[in-house]
């Protein structure tokens, strides 16, 4: 009964909002959402929220509209009710193209979904094997792909980077290292961080691709392995790692994980020399302005649990550490993703759960809690649009 009332109320409200704002082309229309307390309008910005889902459960895409303070759950499903099996499985990254389309990488479905904004209608699906990360540059989307690799296989299979024209959807690919992850464009080059996570020996290379020829020019070998996310800033590359661990059995037969290398952050200079930023344990990270914001377990080497937020200056690698436990950040259960508002510096943290609903918390640049919204299952990726 309550639900129906709410639904009717939202519909009336929606009709009113839609009626009053016809001039704005990016207005969200025709969707059912709920009112949320976000306490700010943030201009006309909207937050896209990608919930990975609990495999084999499907991923969902949600939208938070700051202006109307409304939260639209499963906006893809609302816009495309007739698309079989929805968005697909295990969304891993997203980006908006120059045409204003949203590209969503569906890792387990081996597809990229291209959605028109603000209608969220599915424009096209592109086949890309196990897509991981995307960067938009010069009318092209560059997407890293694991290719046909299988964990633990004796056959090591090179990953790829796809170059897909965002208006014609013409596609070419080039082979890079093993299980490529983060991609970044800087100075006419595309940089790709290779993890090698499916191989017995992990990869330590950044593949450098010349954008004009779309060929691998060289591979930068780093002193760290199992590379993950990658950003280019200040003439340097910033790459984090998944870390390394081994398992062994103790005297009582219990299996114990021994961490041999941390989830680290490295700064790679133009000459290929790399320097690990000691004291930063970067599990997930995002570049905003001239800073890298990273979250990770500061006590991982000791087998402890001390989740921290690191704000690293891309000018010199200096950083500040905030312990979640000592701050408002402590309301986060499982920090699974981070995003920073480019204008006002607000920090959004995904508090993910794969057995329940997740949350997104917003903190001010001074790390004071501002608001929280309930999201879907396995919230991992955010994007302002």
């Amino acid at each position: 009964m309550k639900k129906t009332t709410l639904l009717v109320f939202s519909a009336i409200l929606l009709a009113c909002v839609a009626g009053c704002n016809k001039e704005n082309a990016s207005e969200i229309q025709g969707f059912t959402g709920i009112e949320v307390e976000v306490g700010e309008s943030n201009g006309s910005n909207k937050l896209l929220i990608l919930n990975e889902g609990a495999f084999p459960g499907a991923s969902t895409l949600d939208l938070l509209d700051f202006k109307t303070k409304k939260y639209y759950a499963d906006i893809f499903g609302q816009a495309n009710p007739t698309v079989t099996q929805g968005l697909g499985n295990t969304g891993n990254d997203m980006a908006v193209s120059a045409e204003g389309n949203l590209w969503v990488l569906m890792n387990a479905s081996n597809q990229v979904a291209v959605l028109q904004l603000p209608s969220f209608t599915l424009l096209r699906t592109l086949d890309v094997e196990a897509p991981r990360h995307v960067v938009m540059d010069g009318g092209n989307a560059y997407i890293s792909s694991y290719g046909a690799a299988v964990y633990g296989s004796g056959t090591e299979v090179n990953g790829k980077v796809y170059k897909i024209n965002t208006s014609s959807f013409e596609s070419t690919s080039v082979e890079v290292g093993f299980q490529p992850e983060g991609v970044a464009v800087s100075g006419g080059k595309l940089y790709v961080a290779n993890s090698g996570g499916y191989n017995w020996v992990h990869d330590n290379r950044i593949s450098v691709i010349d954008l004009s020829s779309f060929r691998v020019e060289k591979q930068l070998e780093l002193p760290v392995t199992n590379l993950n996310m990658l950003y280019a800033m200040g003439g340097k590359l910033w790459v984090n790692t998944y870390g390394e661990s081994t398992w062994s059995q103790d005297g009582e037969g219990n299996w114990v994980q021994d961490i041999s290398a941390p989830m680290s952050l490295s700064m790679v200079k133009a000459d290929g020399s790399a320097q690990t930023i000691a004291g930063v344990h970067a599990d997930k990270m995002v570049l905003s302005g001239a800073s890298i914001y990273a979250i990770g377990n500061n006590a991982e080497m000791e087998g402890g649990y001390d989740i921290c937020l690191y704000k690293v200056s891309t000018a010199d690698g200096s950083f500040t550490t905030t312990h979640f436990a000592d701050s408002d950040l402590s309301r986060t259960g499982y920090a699974y993703g981070i995003y920073v508002h480019p204008q006002n510096g607000d920090i959004y943290i995904c508090d993910a759960s794969f057995t329940a609903g997740s949350k997104v918390h917003c903190f001010s640049p001074e790390l004071k809690w501002k608001w929280t919204v309930d999201t879907g299952v396995g919230t991992g990726h955010l994007l302002l649009w």
Binding site: A11, T84, G86, S109, E129, A130, Q249, G253, T355
Partner: protein, 625 residues
């Protein structure tokens, strides 16, 4: 044979299981909760089909010919149900999931489900330790000579021939040789559908797909030798199972050009077991049992994107088991029992694991009709894969005040160790795993009345289970990889009610049975229903027979379930109902059967995103001479 001063306790069975009552053990304190035997057991061919009507159980079924099928009794998880073949455990230390689909029912006399434990006067120490147990009892081959050939097939391209030879050798020996094969392509159509309310009305999709990579090829062989003598019965059995199958995986969105799964699995299981029961004197009986099992599994993870890229994972499990037990008749109404078992389990994979476990049990049984009771305690101590030791005490009581009425109850604490997978393969375990503890309390009544050609019966059992340190396994992408999480505590309140009536006159027999089960299984943290347990489930059975022709209609109903104990819509699995109809005809050793399953073509899932087959037909022919 064993002289017994006891009356038949097992008097109250549902119509379809009456055949078992006369042969079922007379020395039990409490009758089994459920029994299936006779023709109905034979017609089922595989164990999951034989027992899926049992109250309070879920058969987890991944669908199709080769889909894994495991049992979950009263919301406790498959690891809390011990499975015994002629008293010897069938187990799996790696994941504690015994695939019931591999067990053929054609050489069995009956299958019994016990809550708490079976309360035989003479039994092994392991039999005292589980929250519930499923006992498979081999049929004793006849004194003469019988050949039997059986063929069934139909749906999913199934062709399954079977041959057996049973004979008696002199006064003391009986033997059985049986070989069975099965081949199925495993394909079946299913619908993927979802509709939602939109401003333009109901919109959605309904797409017809075909289940692929569910093929199965298997061969199994059984050799059994029985030796019967004054006051003793001995058995030697060897079983072999060999199979190769596709693993179809969950159904999710996949790019059109790629299949959902191309993974394969090979199995080769060998088990040899020996057991002997002997009366030593007027008051003392002894039991000895031994088993060796060697189970090999090879999982081939093939890339869906390129069949040339694959990873092979091999697992070899070996288990050796030895048991000795005594039953001493201290007085005509008091029996004292003791048992000692030892088991070695070893897993060879990318990593190896071993576990040594000692089981010891003591029991006292009071047999003073109309009262019967048993008090037992099992001690278990294990080393190797974690050191654990604990006690499992149990009290069973039965009161039979009048021929029509019987009352009973049980209180028990039991425990299960973390499996090798729990300890390692889960990848998320960074600390010592605690064993799961279960407290059970149950009370039941049953009633039976014969009125002319009519037999009526009814039964109800109420139970409360409390689980500490509950571990939940959820399939993670493939059937062989699981993600593990510990959801703390679970409290389970359940009620099982069944009622039936049978009418017999001349060549006519008719019966109707209804079973209903209520299971409220609450996660103490999230306060939601735990994964995969329906609040309501029911079974209806109508049987009619005229001379040698019989017709059967049965229905299964199951309410909604969730894949997470946070019961939000993202995790919901829809309720379902499924109706089967079966027709059989028998004449002088020849029997023909026809079954139409899922009569109304219900599109349903037992495991999320593993679609079950729609309407399908199976036919069988069986000839004994």
């Amino acid at each position: 044979m064993t002289a017994t001063v006891l009356t038949i306790a097992l008097f109250l069975q549902l119509p379809d299981t009456l055949a078992a009552a006369s042969v079922s053990a007379a020395r039990l304190v409490s009758p089994p909760t459920e029994v299936t035997s006779g023709e109905r057991l034979q017609r089922a061919v595989t164990l999951p089909d034989a027992i899926r009507e049992f109250s309070g159980i879920q058969i987890r079924d991944y669908g199709g010919a080769g889909g894994l099928k495991t049992i979950n009794v009263r919301s406790l998880g498959s690891a809390h149900t011990a499975i015994f073949l002629d008293g010897v455990p069938i187990d799996n230390a790696q994941n504690m999931q015994v695939d019931l689909g591999r067990i053929s029912t054609t050489a069995l006399e009956r299958v019994e489900l016990y809550q708490g434990q079976r309360s035989e006067l003479l039994q092994s120490a392991r039999e005292y330790g589980s929250a519930s147990s499923l006992h498979l009892v081999s049929a004793l081959p006849p004194a003469g000579q019988t050949f039997r050939i059986h063929l069934h097939g139909g749906a999913f391209g199934t062709v399954a021939p079977q041959a057996s030879w049973e004979r008696g050798w002199g006064e003391h020996f009986r033997s059985r040789l049986q070989i069975a094969g099965s081949h199925a392509h495993g394909r079946y159509p299913f619908h993927v559908r979802d509709y939602r309310n939109t401003p333009e009305g109901m919109q959605g999709y309904d797409t017809l797909m075909v289940r692929e990579n569910g093929d199965l090829r298997s061969v199994q062989a059984l050799a059994q030798l029985f030796y019967l003598r004054e006051g003793g019965r001995y058995e030697l059995s060897a079983r072999w199972y060999d199979s190769e199958r596709g693993i179809p995986g969950p159904v999710y969105k996949q790019a059109d050009m790629y299949p959902l799964s191309t993974d394969r699995q090979e199995d080769r299981d060998l088990a040899v077991q020996a057991s002997g029961e002997q009366r030593l004197n007027d008051r003392l009986r002894m039991l000895l049992r031994a088993k060796y099992a060697n189970d090999y599994l090879s999982y081939l993870d093939v890339s869906e994107l390129d069949p040339a890229v694959e990873a092979r994972w091999n697992y070899l499990q070996q288990s050796a088991y030895l048991s000795a037990a005594l039953d001493w008749e201290a007085s005509p109404w008091l029996h004292l029992g003791g048992a000692l078992d030892g088991q070695l389990e070893h897993l060879d994979a990318q990593v190896s694991a071993s576990r040594r476990t000692l089981f010891a049990a003591l029991s006292g049984t009071l047999l003073k009709d109309p009262w019967r009771a048993s008090l037992s305690v099992q001690y278990q101590r294990s080393a190797g894969a974690g050191r654990y030791s604990f006690l499992s005490p149990a009290l069973l009581v039965n009161w039979h005040p009048a021929p029509e009425w019987e009352f009973g109850g049980l209180v028990k604490r039991s425990c299960r160790l973390p499996s090798f997978n729990d300890l390692y393969y889960s990848n998320v375990i960074t600390r010592r795993l605690e064993p799961e503890y279960v407290w059970q309390a149950a009370a039941r009544w049953s009633w039976k009345k014969i009125l002319g050609p009519w037999t009526f019966n009814a039964r109800e059992e109420l139970y409360y289970n409390w689980v500490e340190n509950k571990l939940i396994a959820v399939p993670n992408g493939s059937l062989f990889r699981w993600s593990m999480y510990n959801i703390g505590g679970v409290r389970i309140f359940g009620d099982e009610i069944s009622a039936g009536a049978t009418y017999t006159r001349g060549p006519w027999t008719g019966s109707a049975t209804a079973r209903y089960s209520y299971q409220w299984a609450q996660d103490t943290e999230t306060l939601g229903q735990i994964p995969y347990i329906p609040l309501h489930s029911a079974h209806f059975l109508l049987q009619g027979a005229w001379k040698n022709l019989s017709l059967e209609l049965q229905g299964f109903l199951c309410s909604e379930r969730f894949t997470s104990s946070t019961n939000r819509p993202d995790f919901r699995i829809a309720p379902w109902s499924c109706w089967d109809i079966g027709l059989s005809w028998e004449l002088r050793g020849l029997s023909l059967g026809l079954q139409v399953k899922n009569l109304f073509n219900e599109q349903y899932q037992i495991i999320r995103q593993y679609p079950m087959p729609g309407i399908h037909v199976l036919a069988s022919i069986d000839y004994s001479f």
